[in-house]
């Protein structure tokens, strides 16, 4: 022991242990992280959902909807309007008219414009639409709180737009209740929105007077109290015998779990089938008699991964997501049809039940005394009756990222112990600085330059595309791939610049340390905001980053390393995930025809980028600004 050293012997021993057992611990940690994560939906680890907020009291009220007559009246009225005149009569004006003249409640329309965020000219490609919104003021309340019930006028279908006739008719039924019943403690706001994701954003942005670059909506003429919750109704068909709940909001936000539980509980009490969106379960026949269906591990895991994939993109799964931007808990209830029983009595029953479920949910929310604040905001759902809370899934994430942390620790120790041995030649510090400048600073500057170019470059990419007469989606995809090729070429061009003279290992180690620290900061930060995205980044980039900074002599191993690094290119990796997603969840097999996959991918990519820009979703920007530079730095390091 020497007094010149900073550490006591214990600490040195700890560091030696870290270096000695580090590799074993890393592999163990990574594997156990994956195993633990896949065990999360298992019976012994999972928790059943429960309602945390006492005031909700789901399903305790007697419904005020007794017959389906008026529902069918509205439905057929809207259907006639849709079928005659080529669907032109079915629009916001008609809905406004029914609200204002038939139901005689406060109703308005709002016009809005959508301009293409990437086009320079002011008039080019502007689309406009109209929303209708109405207020069912609570008679006996002071109007300080409100609930929103929204329904898009048209739903996006596979081929063409489907009118949301049943969803809109339910708005009218509920509006009638809001007007005539005395028990409402909160105003009901009914919103019928045009142009799917655009209309609802225009309305919400105008409601909160928020500014958006591409969506310009008229100012609203009336407002309700502070919005406590929002329900979004999507019914492509009146024959529904199952409800699906969509949760995921923009940028990985999720609504409070209590709201979801309430709906599930109400469906249960109505004996109506209800599940997550595209939920898989082993026992497909719904058991009414179990309070909770038994845990099914495999399908639970599939559902969890499916939910995470949707959350990771940051794109909201439905229109409810935009409410979450303003701290309004919101869900989408969408109706689907699983069996084709065309018995009219059965159909009437289902219509009545569906409407009652929506009504009952509203009355539960109506009971609320304070904002949703109990229950969970960070969770994963393996099925509609079970949840995985943040305390359960975060350790898995930590274990998966453990290898990088251990590597950082051992690199740190290596650098510092080196410094101690070469302590005597302080003259080298200048040389080291030069090395750092060469090895680290230039590398990072180039890498981040690429990131910034990608971040700011989308309009320019599209402009180039126009010059070469490419369609926007091809232009964007090709330019993006060209940039990636540029990054791949960088080490060849600057080969001599990056290699350092003098005390090489030290500068290299510092370089590696900085890259890993950047990765840690990036992944750690994102894990708080959008857990799923950071999970998918961590599960792949944690071993890849370690592989990239490993010095290998073997030619074959080096080739393998570089090949893995090419796969680690963000766009390649995420395309691969998309491919798997399509294969497993959408049953589309792209493995056989890659050409079609490329076309589909570039279209998806363009839509995603455009959508991100319009709806202010930062997944694309984050990946460009941080993940691409990290990958680029790793690639350059791997090459030397």
């Amino acid at each position: 022991m020497s007094l010149y050293k900073s550490d006591s012997d214990n600490k040195t021993k700890l560091f030696e242990n870290v270096i000695k057992f580090g590799p074993v611990l890393s592999i163990l940690g990574y594997l156990s992280g994956i195993v633990y994560f896949s065990l999360l939906p298992h019976e012994s680890l999972i928790h059943g959902t429960y309602i945390s907020e006492n005031a909700l009291l789901p399903g305790l009220v007697t419904s005020d909807i007794y017959s389906t007559d008026s529902i069918f009246n509205y439905y057929h009225f809207l259907k006639d309007a849709y079928e005659n005149n080529g669907g032109k009569g079915y629009n916001a004006e008609l809905i406004h008219d029914i609200f204002a003249n038939k139901l005689k409640i406060e109703s308005y329309t709002q016009n809005f414009n959508l301009s293409n965020p990437f086009s320079n000219s002011e008039t080019d490609g502007i689309k406009s639409g109209t929303n209708a919104y109405a207020f069912g003021r609570a008679q006996r309340a002071d109007g300080t709180e409100s609930i929103v019930i929204s329904a898009p006028i048209y739903l996006s279908g596979k081929k063409k737009k489907i009118p949301n006739l049943f969803g809109i008719s339910q708005l009218f039924i509920l509006a009638d209740l809001a007007k005539t019943r005395p028990y409402w403690a909160k105003d009901l706001i009914f919103v019928a929105t045009d142009m799917e994701h655009v209309g609802i954003q225009a309305w919400i942005n105008s409601y909160f007077e928020a500014h958006s670059d591409s969506i310009k909506g008229e100012n609203l003429r009336a407002r309700g109290g502070s919005i406590q919750a929002a329900l979004n109704l999507e019914f492509s068909d009146i024959n529904t015998n199952k409800l699906e709940i969509k949760l995921e909001g923009p940028n990985g936000k999720l609504p409070n779990l209590d709201l979801f539980n309430t709906i599930i509980r109400i469906c249960k009490s109505m004996q109506f089938e209800c599940s997550l969106e595209s939920e898989k379960s082993a026992n497909s026949d719904f058991s009414y008699y179990h309070n909770r269906p038994p845990v099914d591990h495999v399908s639970g895991l599939i559902n969890t991964v499916n939910m995470m994939l949707k959350q990771a993109t940051g794109v909201p799964s439905s229109l409810n997501g935009y409410f979450l931007n303003y701290r309004i808990e919101a869900l989408t209830i969408s109706g689907t049809r699983t069996s084709f029983s065309s018995k009219r009595s059965q159909q009437k029953q289902n219509v009545l039940k569906t409407t009652r479920i929506v009504e009952s949910t509203l009355r539960s929310v109506n009971n609320l005394l304070e904002r949703f604040h109990q229950s969970f905001f960070f969770y994963l759902l393996p099925s509609s009756h079970y949840y995985i809370s943040i305390g359960m899934y975060m350790p898995a994430f930590g274990l998966i990222f453990l290898p990088v942390l251990i590597k950082i620790l051992s690199l740190w120790f290596e650098i510092f112990s080196n410094k101690k041995s070469t302590h005597s030649d302080r003259n080298e510090s200048g040389l080291l600085m030069l090395d750092l400048l060469k090895c680290v600073v230039i590398k990072f500057m180039i890498s981040f330059l690429f990131g910034i170019v990608l971040y700011l470059g989308t309009p320019f990419f599209l402009m180039f595309g126009k010059k070469f007469q490419l369609s926007p989606k091809d232009a964007l995809m090709n330019c993006y791939l060209a940039m990636m090729a540029n990054i791949l070429m960088t080490p060849f061009i600057f080969r001599s610049k990056f290699s350092s003279s003098g005390n090489k290992t030290e500068a290299e180690n510092i370089n590696k340390l900085i890259i890993l620290l950047f990765l840690t900061i990036f992944v750690g930060t994102i894990s708080i905001l959008n857990f799923s995205l950071s999970f998918f980044v961590a599960i792949f980039y944690s071993p890849i980053a370690l592989l990239a900074i490993q010095n290998v002599q073997n030619r074959l191993a080096k080739f393998f390393k570089l090949a893995m690094m090419v796969v680690a290119c963000p766009i390649v990796y995420f395309s691969f995930i998309y491919l798997l997603n399509q294969y497993f969840f959408e049953n589309k097999n792209f493995f056989t025809n890659p050409g079609q996959f490329y076309v589909s991918l570039s279209e998806k990519f363009y839509n995603f980028v455009l959508f991100s820009q319009i709806s202010q979703i930062w997944t694309y920007e984050m990946i460009n600004l941080f993940l691409v530079p990290i990958w680029s730095a790793l690639w350059i390091t791997a090459f030397n």
Partner: protein
Amino acid sequence: MSKYRSSGFFGALFLGAFTRLFLTTNQPLRQWLQNRLEISTPLTSWNRVLEGVYLKWSLNSSSYDGDLVHEIPMMINIYHYLIQLFTNRHIIYFFILIDCLNSILVYTISYKIIQFNCIMENFNKTNGKYARLFESKEKKYDFLITEKNFKPIFWSLFAMVCYLFNPLNLACCMSQTTVLIQHFVLLIWLNFLLNGKIFMSYIFLAIHANIAVYSLVLIVPSISFIRQKKIFKRKQIKSEFNLISKHATVFVLLFACVFMFNLYLENFNTRFIDCTYLFILKVRDLVPNMGLFWYFLTEMFDHFITFFIYVFQLNAFLYSIPLTLRLKNEPLVNLLIQIGLLYVFKSYPNIGETGLFTSFLPCVAYLFPLMRNVLVFTCMLIAGMVLAPIMFYLWLGSGGGNANFYFAITLVYSVGQIFLLVDVFYACLKREFIKLNGSNVPLNTDGKPANFTLE
């Protein structure tokens, strides 16, 4: 002035200024930074200054009507002339100028600090103070720093680069917080002090102490430094008490003068005392910031608040004298530690203050090999800085989190800073021990090698 004649100096200065000028073009970023609570605290927010100027010169009332402005009258007057000179649109260029001046001051001060430390060690060595170090078995000839093995030009340039490219300082410059001006005053004080112009330095310390009351305690390390310098110039110190009382009196008189000047500027209306000095001491504004006060005081029952404010404020003033007594042979390290401690225990800390303090760390880079928790506090500081805006967003933006999220991060940040200061202190003490006693590990009473702990 040969020390300025290096390409590195001009290159860094130019690059720093260019980065700042480039960032000014990003309007949304500036807007965002201006509204960040970590930067625009009640004492440093530029918008509040504008309000004060408007109240005084456009409405002809006092700047302190409305309890929004907490700058002292003198500074409000200066800002008024600056705004007239530059107009509010272009005032950012003035801030960039001040920031560049600050970086130059950091450079000269670091240069002086290193030079002084080298000379002092050499002086002690020739006086035979370190005899036991040279008798010890394990030898390390470059343990004592000299200008050869610890090049002042290189390390002070490093300090300057640390100041110029620290993201905290960049953020402060972009958000036009008046903390830059406060830094400027503080740095001028240090510069004068190190150059031996004691009276001038006291004037600037008095101004700074009027802006932020806590700086009063910095008089203690300044006196310690002056004493050390006298010893080192082989001047006889007749009576320590005389020296201390003389300097303290001069400083208090100067402080009173600055205060009276402020009072004169306010036409002898004493309202500003409540809005500046007492506002800092009573911690009335509990808007979240990176400090330790707001959360405790919001969580507390009202009748305990007075007591806890006393306890908390005592922290800022308490350590000054004990630290000075312990570090009387290392007055400059003492100065740095005390400046850092003030910034941790302040009622309205600003992240730029951490930026200023950390940029002086290269001056004591020779202590780094002796530090214990470098990794720990580095990670804590990075985590604090990166996660603070995110936790704030989770709490008040998306609504998924709550106040504890943000508080946890501010706590991590503050504890990280304290770890850093304690580590500097520890390393300094250990170094002093080695210098005086040699590098042989002393034995305990039971015959085993003793451990070096900070108790």
